[in-house]
Symmetry: C3
Subunit: 310 residues, 3 copies
């Protein structure tokens, strides 16, 4: 199973910025292309007060900061130049979904979707939407919200595809800033199936693909969870993608590039379950030959050697 | 607002050492100069048993280790070669100020100031003093100590300027080794003003400048706190500098270089409040083209592009 | 005191992988040789389900993963090419020794020792064994286990040397994933001597060398602990090595390369106590000119300058 898509982690929650300008970004799209990537996903167009594009709405209504550069225009230009599809990630207000501020998030994004479509909807690389707020079973209250956001994205854009990338509430689902690497109260495979069946039931009409993050469970659990994910996605007619995390959740430094063998295990598990597509979080920090993390340069080489043999 | 000064973080509290020799340091002074830096501040001449210079006093009386190289002589030589001013940071014993060991710190530094002035006071780049122990409102007991250390520095050196760089006790004022990024009990703007008014009242006669660290508050709080800082500094006739932190306090890795946009926001807030000078903590790890953190290389480029446009 | 040996940290517990292939590993052996290293120690041949070599036993009986490459064969080949001795580290199941799963670990390793000796025992660079499970005073129950593992290693291999590398339960003996850097309940020098006297009493007949890790105590404690270690090793006729950690335990980032001065202090303390050999944990991440941590490149230069002067 080859990686054909990557998130672009601007604005980042927890991965330090690389401070790239347009020249470094263009070079990265070239490296992505050489590795077989045809899809880039802007993980979120804004987070709290930081923005990827100069949004009149968010700047005037939510006191967001005017960004030094319009990254959305840059990424669309590069995607067009290198023959890639761009998925657009919605705004993350940082008002957490599970604390009753759901409506705030939905309302803001209704304006954002409208503004963004007017601004960038005509661009040929604009090929879909990503609902950026990460959910898991503990945020089941988000079903309605996801459904209505997906619906709006599809309606405004002539039914462009929408996808989500939730996490499995496994043993490694701990806060990034926490000192711990694992927790005791991980979800069972049965609970996972029951709860996601319910979530998919509520959102499948306005979602086209689901890309579960693959890093919160242990390697020997991959097959069981992936089988359930595939079964559920098929039941609700969703494309089943894997979000193959290319950073390592097992190390005290949060986060550096993953050991190649681990990435390989995860991709092979997804292939075995006949997933439809593999994307990664994310290429530019963790797999790029120009990453600030030199481990990523070697991961790129190991990965390219690998895909040339399969 | 341009950065014209930087700390040199030797001996470091919490930033891993780069293991540079004289050749790397000379190159860094060249990079600093190219970025418009005219002032270097040795953050502390010693910390616990590690020293920047071979202090007979600290080695014989406090069992400190003889350093492999005299960094003070090196930095003075480079400052002279590249036309910079050097501020000398006092000794930090690691006996914390707020636990009753204040007198220990003061006594040690009385000897250090005397020794250092005899050793390096004639050097043309020696242009001022930095009281290295960081204080905030919780260390108000330090007023007398700061006052008497500042007084001694000024008396021995023919009134060379003395500055301090305290932190604002904001939401991000957490321990570096802690797993958390923020805390609940942040200071209010009113408490900040009241308490620093009292501190400045006690020390202003022997302090020339104050450079509050700018990283412990949120970006939207910058203007309010900076306005108060400027007002208080003016009231007590202190130069008002900003210590523009070039590392990112919002990330689980503590600490990597800051996102350029954040640095820009902070510098602009200081400019808006008509601060007198901007220094940074610190160039060599977080902004240098030869930093061990590659993100810093790009930050340097972004920063240079920026100052060429303002 | 010069470093003449290094661990090779594959599979790693807590240091992120560099994703090197055979070419990078060969280059590293060249750098090691240039720095005077004549001994490499594979820290463990497997950890939980990840392996350095394709072990039929561990793959079929313990569901371990077949590794992408046989690292043991690679390291032996490189050790032979560059005239080095290789010590082979046993399997670490991740079932902790002190929780009653001792027998599991011993049983697995009895098979592993047998398999490994058949597979690689004829290789000319195979010169010894390393009992990979780290013990300290709190794992005294491990005495019998260490003794029998050492015995089996020696018997099967015609008495090849066996060594261990325990930690001192000092103030810095905290979990890698913990937010803390130090703890309160550090061992005293007297407890250390009493307890290790008991441990050595139980294992000395099947162990040839002990290389205490040097990083868990403060620098001013080095001499006292090193003296006791040397005295105990002599009493039981063990070679006394130091495991000079080349990463920094005093920083919130866990872990980056150590400040050269600290490494120098530790090596000099070992030299003063007339230790027999210095090894390090470990060259490839923390001292190599091609490490992903650029601080290591400079540490290599500082270290080479140093050994050329002593």
């Amino acid at each position: 199973m080859r990686i054909t898509g990557t998130f672009i982690d601007e604005i980042s929650h927890d991965i330090p910025h690389q401070n790239w300008g347009p020249r470094e970004w263009e070079k990265d799209f070239q490296y992505m292309q050489a590795a077989g990537i045809d899809t880039v996903i802007v993980i979120r167009c804004g987070y709290r007060k930081f923005l990827t594009y100069p949004s009149d709405y968010l700047i005037s209504k939510h006191q967001c900061y005017a960004p030094p550069i319009d990254l959305i225009d840059l990424y669309l230009t590069l995607a067009e130049r290198y023959g890639m599809k761009l998925y657009f990630g919605l705004y993350d207000s940082g008002h957490y979904w599970d604390t009753g501020n759901l409506q705030f998030e939905i309302d803001a994004n209704f304006y954002v979707i409208d503004e963004v479509w007017k601004k960038y909807g005509h661009r040929t690389a604009f090929k879909g939407w990503y609902l950026s707020t990460e959910i898991s079973r503990k945020t089941k209250g988000a079903i309605e919200a996801f459904n209505s956001l997906g619906q709006m994205c599809k309606q405004i854009s002539g039914n462009l595809p929408v996808f989500i990338s939730p996490w499995i509430d496994g043993k490694k689902a701990v806060m990034a800033a926490s000192g711990n690497l694992t927790k005791e109260d991980a979800v069972s495979i049965l609970e996972h199936e029951t709860e996601w069946n319910e979530i998919f039931e509520g959102i499948h009409q306005n979602i086209d693909a689901v890309a579960f993050q693959d890093g919160h469970i242990d390697y020997h659990e991959l097959h069981d969870f992936f089988s359930v994910n595939k079964k559920l996605a098929s039941k609700y007619n969703l494309a089943c993608w894997t979000n193959a995390e290319s950073f390592d959740r097992d190390m005290p430094i949060k986060f550096l590039p993953i050991k190649f063998e681990k990435l390989k295990l995860k991709l092979e598990a997804a292939g075995k379950s006949e997933y439809d597509k593999a994307i990664t979080f994310e290429f530019s920090h963790f797999m790029s030959p120009q990453s600030s993390y030199i481990q990523a340069h070697h991961l790129y080489n190991r990965y390219l050697e690998y895909i040339n043999t399969i």
